[in-house]
Symmetry: C2
Subunit: 475 residues, 2 copies
Amino acid sequence: MADLPDKASAFIDWYLAVVEEAGLSDKRYGVKGMNVWTPYGFAARRALDAVIVRALESSASQAVEFPALIPQTEFQKEKEHIKGFDDQVYWVTRGGATPLDVPLVLRPTSETAMYPVFALWVRSHRDLPLNLYQIVNTWRYETKTTRPFLRVREIHFIEEHSCQLDEAAATHRVQENLTSFAEMATEYALPYVPTRRPDWDKFPGAFYSIALDIPVGAGRTLQIGSIHHYRENFSRPYAIQYETPDGGQRFVHQTTFGLSERLLGAILAVHGDAKGAVFPSSVAPYQVVIVPIIAAEGGEAVLRFARGVAASLKAAGLRVHVDDAEGRPGPKYYHWEMRGVPLRLEIGRREAERGGVSWADRLGRKGTAGPDALVEAIRAELKGYDEALARRANAAFAAAFAPAATLDDLKGSTQVRYLSWCGAEACGHAIETAIDGALLGTPEGKFELAQGTPGACIGGCGTTPTVWALAGRPL
Amino acid sequence: MADLPDKASAFIDWYLAVVEEAGLSDKRYGVKGMNVWTPYGFAARRALDAVIVRALESSASQAVEFPALIPQTEFQKEKEHIKGFDDQVYWVTRGGATPLDVPLVLRPTSETAMYPVFALWVRSHRDLPLNLYQIVNTWRYETKTTRPFLRVREIHFIEEHSCQLDEAAATHRVQENLTSFAEMATEYALPYVPTRRPDWDKFPGAFYSIALDIPVGAGRTLQIGSIHHYRENFSRPYAIQYETPDGGQRFVHQTTFGLSERLLGAILAVHGDAKGAVFPSSVAPYQVVIVPIIAAEGGEAVLRFARGVAASLKAAGLRVHVDDAEGRPGPKYYHWEMRGVPLRLEIGRREAERGGVSWADRLGRKGTAGPDALVEAIRAELKGYDEALARRANAAFAAAFAPAATLDDLKGSTQVRYLSWCGAEACGHAIETAIDGALLGTPEGKFELAQGTPGACIGGCGTTPTVWALAGRPL
């Protein structure tokens, strides 16, 4: 039980240690970058996904599942797209001992799997909008250093694909996706900034891409999702067209919305601390852990009471675990703190006699609850905990940004910078060189940290008008 | 809206037509045998899986997820296993343009993915039992004719893998799995018979295999799952051992329990009829569909009332759909019957004024409910429907079996036959030849249809003692 590395000065070491010590992922599998979801990690993922499913389905998206293997012939139909993925896909070339006539790609994303079928499903304007999502794994032959949840070769992936009547309807769906993500982010207590990526950094085949970025300290950012407007870029090569009310044929406009297990990495990165993982109650595998404190006598009554409390909380829909293993309370507290459990209940003889509990939350607050309205009190504490977690994350978010008035301001910056940019690629690259990172793009919607109107471009040209843009170092 | 083929005389044609007309799967994807889960099919699968997850977790199994790609080196460690799968796995041989040093197999099942990691997870007798399951896709390079849900190349798969202290503990886990499956089968209203497969038909690498078989008419059977006892057959090559309380080292005994999307196929095959799919309410994507009957006047009130009823039912946890699309009621009834919806509510002006509903269930029963205690009445109708469905399935199950006293009885049999078998492979093969199918094995636990003790072996040797065995034609 050694101390974790320091989060501020050795972020990646700290992150890797938390993932391992909290038992969320096992990277000792025989293929580098393909990791095992442990029972505890899988439970977190299940809770994470439940939030996503709820948000997507309340924005009228329906779940489907398309095959994982894509024929090379379909994969290569959209030229930009294939250029973007050609060197990072896995190829299936044999079935048994037989070479396949047409090699198959393990999906890196599902445009090319879905769109030939969308062409069969979309016939009339009455079939639109078509909003479909799937939660599947994708594979990328990643050559950079892999990190659990952040950069892996088998990726737990959530992808919505939509077909819309026209460009305006597709733009509207992009906005609906942004709203859905805002709902999810609230549940995760994850502040973020949506940025429209510069043209040279958009998704292969997209008309434009909006990325969802999260600052994770020292000027670093993590892209945890993206929303793309494809216009007709895919519907033309894949022939997805519909009959209009007046009998004509038009190509659909398409959008996609992608999220992944990176969200779990972001939750660890943003909320975690020197004692380990810190989960919002929406994602915590156990929202409440009960530690019975068994003394020499009265142990039976304590255990019985602890189990009764657990049963009441479970009946109220909470995820609860009673840690009745052998051992002293201290190491158990340490164990469940490392694993990010929001609320710990301590139940000893005094509590059992009183019919109440002592509690401590993962942010260090303490109190007692019950015997009256115990379940309601625990619910209220969890709510208070989530709010405190959000306040802490929001404060860190606000402190993660600073303006930059010159290229010099960017050098060695330990904050994400907002700055005035003319929009030209040359100035963008100058900014990227100065910060040794990326021009993330222009904030989508209102970015409240940047007040007023932007000034002269800091990228070298010095011209106006400009837009606010963000620059940082993507992890 | 042509009639379906006749189920009794043209079963497979009927089955394929139901899958297509009910909109459960789209097989027009670019790789034969890899099908698309449509929104409706995916919703059925989600409900199906929820039953499985509940049963497995209540028998102390925990969800995990292991990678889909298995290094060739690990895949080949258990000799029987690899012999069983070598000619039906897909091989990944390239990442981008680069040939992989070690080719990767797309998992056909996960023994060889999991067990090297189990060897790291199991250290002490205190780590046992280890009961883990995952719900993932598997891939098999299937050379036989593919059929949606029944035989596909990308398979939605549920696999539990357990490590146990010794052979007796593993045998006990096999029994627990049988109990779990009995719970699931009750929810699906699926009668089945567990049979211990003959040695020549057990799972590659198993000590013994128990298959879960369902008769689907005309002597055909469908294996919808299996439970295997591995003894130490895998733990030795994969070095999964633990320290005993006295400090020694022992290999674990292992079991597995496998189910797949075939369950959905079996539900269609067993319950479906001349009007299409028939779902038990546990699996139905919509348990209740409300068809508002809009006349020239009063349409608004009807629709408002219908939506109110839907809201009440949803609040009670039911899956409900209001079919308020344009069009006459008749085709809507036909549409939802084809899709197997358990209960249809018809709401016209009379019902809206009265505050009640007229209902018709998928088995043709009709009645009215409400205005008082409407939700409770609908719940009761669904329960009665499920019970009637189970009775119908149980009657068909009992009628699907008949005894066979001679090899001649087996020829052209339109029932699954139970018979006396000495246990010898030669007699087994004689039986298989006669029925033009398979000796399914010996019933596990009590098989109530076969009364008394078995007689002389019918396989040709004529000896006693014998055991009851089942023979049929696996689909």
